[in-house]
């Protein structure tokens, strides 16, 4: 009855876990340390972007290059995918059927790929418009910050494929469960970073 419940961020698996995994707590905490050091990297790139914002060197300006409608679409895609990865974890916790988990994770994957396609299209439009990284300090800072987030999203999508293969091969054993939990934390974290990008980069460019 009174099994020790796992104490870590994300959905605790304590409720239905048949074999409590003593490594879950430290394993998740270690992943948190990675996430937070990643957050420090992003924060410094934000600081650099803030100081380089006015340094357009007579080239393309933020207001001209950034489109609010595609920023809104990207935000909605990523936010919805954050919800669906949460539902993936809940399906893993309560259903334990491969079909339910893979369905929610597949939906998250599709949303992530759609986000990447939209962002890739935006960046290609910027390049065609003469806004490339070496044009000005502002564009260097932009291309250091936003595509780095895109690469993270791409890594998350590849990770989902790996997890789908692991679920297929091993089912839901303790190791697979903790990996899916880490994946969900990573994905939620990317959504948080995107909120900062949206506010600092896209919305700030269109101030009245």
């Amino acid at each position: 009855m009174s099994e020790p419940s796992l104490q870590h961020a994300g959905i605790n698996m304590g409720g239905t876990e048949n074999r409590p995994d003593a490594n879950a707590e430290s394993g998740i905490f270690g992943f948190w340390i990675f996430l937070m050091s990643d957050a420090v990297i992003f924060a410094l790139l934000f600081a650099i972007y803030g100081t380089a914002l006015a340094a357009t060197a007579g080239g393309p300006t933020p207001a001209r290059e950034f489109k609010l409608d595609s920023a809104l679409a990207e935000t909605l895609l990523l936010l919805t995918s954050s919800l669906t990865i949460g539902l993936t974890v809940l399906a893993m916790k309560y259903d334990e059927t491969r079909r339910a988990v893979l369905a929610w994770m597949g939906l998250t994957f599709v949303l992530g790929i759609a986000f990447l396609a939209l962002e890739g299209h935006d960046l290609a439009t910027m390049f065609a418009d003469g806004a490339y990284p070496t044009r000005s300090a502002f564009l260097s800072a932009f291309f250091a910050l936003v595509p780095l987030h895109g690469i993270h999203v791409l890594a998350g999508c590849v990770w989902m494929l790996v997890m789908a293969a692991q679920i297929g091969a091993y089912g839901f054993d303790a190791r697979v469960r903790i990996n899916v939990l880490r994946l969900s934390l990573f994905w939620h974290f990317l959504d948080v970073i995107w909120i900062a990008i949206l506010s600092v980069v896209y919305l700030q460019a269109h101030l009245p």
């Binding site: 419940s5 104490q7 870590h8 961020a9 994300g10 959905i11 605790n12 409720g15 905490f29 948190w32 340390i33 937070m36 050091s37 957050a39 420090v40 924060a43 410094l44 934000f46 600081a47 650099i48 803030g50 100081t51 609010l68 809104l72 935000t75 909605l76 936010l79 919805t80 954050s82 919800l83 949460g86 539902l87 809940l90 916790k93 309560y94 934390l185 939620h188 974290f189 959504d191 948080v192 909120i195 900062a196 949206l198 506010s199 600092v200 919305l203 700030q204 269109h206 101030l207 009245p208």
Partner: protein, 100 residues
């Protein structure tokens, strides 16, 4: 089943709040009611609230004992980020002012 309902509701609440805050930030830019400086403050404020909402509802960081370690890590990281970012901004803006 009761647990599942509660946890699903947490995610849905977080999603709805995040959606509302995002649309409010877009609205503040699209239909401006204030000056540029005030609008920027509104956007950054809404963004900050949304980060807190996502940490609470999606990442499950709370004041509960079970996530105390994670909360401490997040707060410490916030301190480090604040120090490094504000230091960078102060120094680089000051530098630019002197060079202009």
């Amino acid at each position: 089943m009761n647990d599942r309902r509660r946890e699903t509701l947490t995610y849905l609440t977080g999603f709805m709040l995040a959606l509302a805050l995002t649309l409010a930030a877009f609205a503040a830019v699209h239909w401006p009611v204030a000056s540029a400086g005030t609008t920027l403050a509104i956007i950054l404020g809404l963004g900050l609230v949304q980060v807190v909402v996502q940490f609470r509802c999606f990442l499950h960081i709370s004041l509960a004992r079970s996530s105390r370690d994670d909360l401490l890590l997040v707060l410490f990281s916030t301190l480090i980020v604040t120090l490094m970012v504000s230091g960078t901004l102060v120094i680089l803006f000051n530098l630019r002012e002197r060079m202009m």
